[in-house]
Amino acid sequence: MSKVMVVTSGKGGVGKTTSTAALGAALAQRGQTVAVVDFDVGLRNLDLVMGAERRVVFDLVNVAQGDAKLAQALIRDKRLDTLSLLPASQTRDKDALTEEGVGRVIEELRARFDWILCDSPAGIEKGATLAMRFADLAVVVANAEVSSVRDSDRIIGLLDAKTRRAEQGERLDKRLLLTRNDQGRAARGDMMKVEDVLEILAIPLLGVICESPDVLTAANMGAPVTLHSPSSAPALAYADAARRLLGEDLPMTMLAPRQSLISRLFGRRAAA
């Protein structure tokens, strides 16, 4: 049974695209067939993070409107052949997508892949609601800071209202992925603690990804962090999260990037 998973957050810049790519690659590494779909029409980023920006010919809008076949638009990853990307259009905007068209594309993807990860745009408007419409499972990405948490709470409210599953009376499985976490700052009170975020959002925790320069490096290299630096702290945390998605019951660990002695002595943070 294929699963459609939406990666959403409400707030922008918290790590949806990074997480979609990282989780997609981690699932594919564990033998699942995965399609990552970029729903951010007009401001696409997933193709950059996947390193496929020079191979985009057709996109989600083309397939949804029937101008291209799905097979023509899907871009297979060069590093993992069980991972494919369906990019978004950069020249159009979100109004180009219709629920009916997206529904057909999702159905076609369900026939070919075990996992379909939908990278939602930020916000609560049509783009975000379309990305979540057909989801079986939602991963809500948030940072441990007040505006991100409030926006994620709003998105959780929408997940309980605007998805097909919610309309049919079923509870949608929602998990929290806390990104850009910094235990040191949380301990000092500069950031919210993980427990505080969980208390407000009241959904089960999928994983905690600590702030790390590896993520930005990987993105600029055009690879998901789980492929580019698989032994880095964020990659290991994403790999654990992928295992939890597959049903394993792993204890939560806060994997933080190792700091050099000098940076610990002088309290310098590596440039993010």
Binding site: N62, K69, D153, L158, E199, A202
Partner: protein, 239 residues
């Protein structure tokens, strides 16, 4: 455009479909309210208006059948048409009419009313008392607005920042109240707000309201109740 794909989709025209399909017809038994206007109509309408005010729930959304035998016999078909107009004005959902001459029915809007109304008399169940309390067992998420004018609202869970609960009666939050709570929309100043953890942005009872800066850090995060006390809003701890 740089590339035009030749991919065309053809949809078979309706006429080409294999065989014509029939529209599905189903039967259903409905309970309609039968109103029997009497002469003089003005008195009868006065009684009806009183009942509409006292118990609107009985008529709410119900199909109404007008039995105009008495009116037609006593005052003629003209009066029957006037009575029908009177019923429409009161926003009653007329679906059928009986006991009236064909000339009335031939006229304008009354043509749409059903006349094949043979059915059995059925007891009218006493109107179910509308629930006087709303129970919410999930957290109220940011952006959600709960408005319940008919009574108290109880939330088993938290009310998030950016959410609001507006109740006709009191509000009981078995969790943290982080958003807005406005109680007493219908019951007025006797309503109260109770919560396990006061972190609200705004609370109001009846016409009075206060924002968080009013009660300050001393009460923040504590179990509290909000009530009207001699013309002003009082926020006091419960522990």
């Amino acid at each position: 455009m740089a590339y035009q794909s030749g991919y065309q989709k053809s949809i078979p025209a309706a006429a080409d479909r294999a065989e014509p399909t029939q529209v599905r017809l189903r039967g259903r038994n409905v309970l309609a309210l039968v109103l029997t206007p009497r002469f003089p109509a003005s008195d009868w309408f006065a009684d009806l208006d009183r009942q509409l005010r006292a118990a609107p729930a009985i008529f709410e959304g119900r199909p109404i059948v007008a039995d105009l035998r008495a009116i037609d016999a006593d005052a003629g078909p003209e009066a029957a048409a006037v009575v029908l107009e009177g019923l429409e004005e009161r926003d009653l959902k007329l679906i059928g009419v009986e006991g009236v001459s064909a000339s009335v029915l031939a006229r304008g809007p009354w043509r749409r009313l059903a006349t094949k109304l043979r059915g059995r008399e059925a007891p009218l169940d006493s109107p179910a008392r509308s629930a006087t309390a709303l129970l919410i067992e999930r957290p109220v998420r940011s952006g959600q607005s709960i408005v319940f004018a008919d009574g108290d609202v109880t939330v088993v869970g938290s009310v998030s920042s950016g959410a609001e609960v507006i109740a006709g009666g009191s509000i009981h939050v078995y969790g943290a109240l982080r958003g807005r709570a406005i109680a007493g929309l219908t019951t007025g100043e006797s309503a109260r707000i109770f919560c396990r953890k006061l972190e609200a942005e705004l609370v109001g009872v009846g016409q009075l309201y206060r924002t968080a800066e009013h009660w300050g850090a001393g009460l923040h995060g504590r179990a509290a109740q909000v009530q009207c006390d001699r013309g002003s809003l009082r926020v006091s701890p419960l522990d």
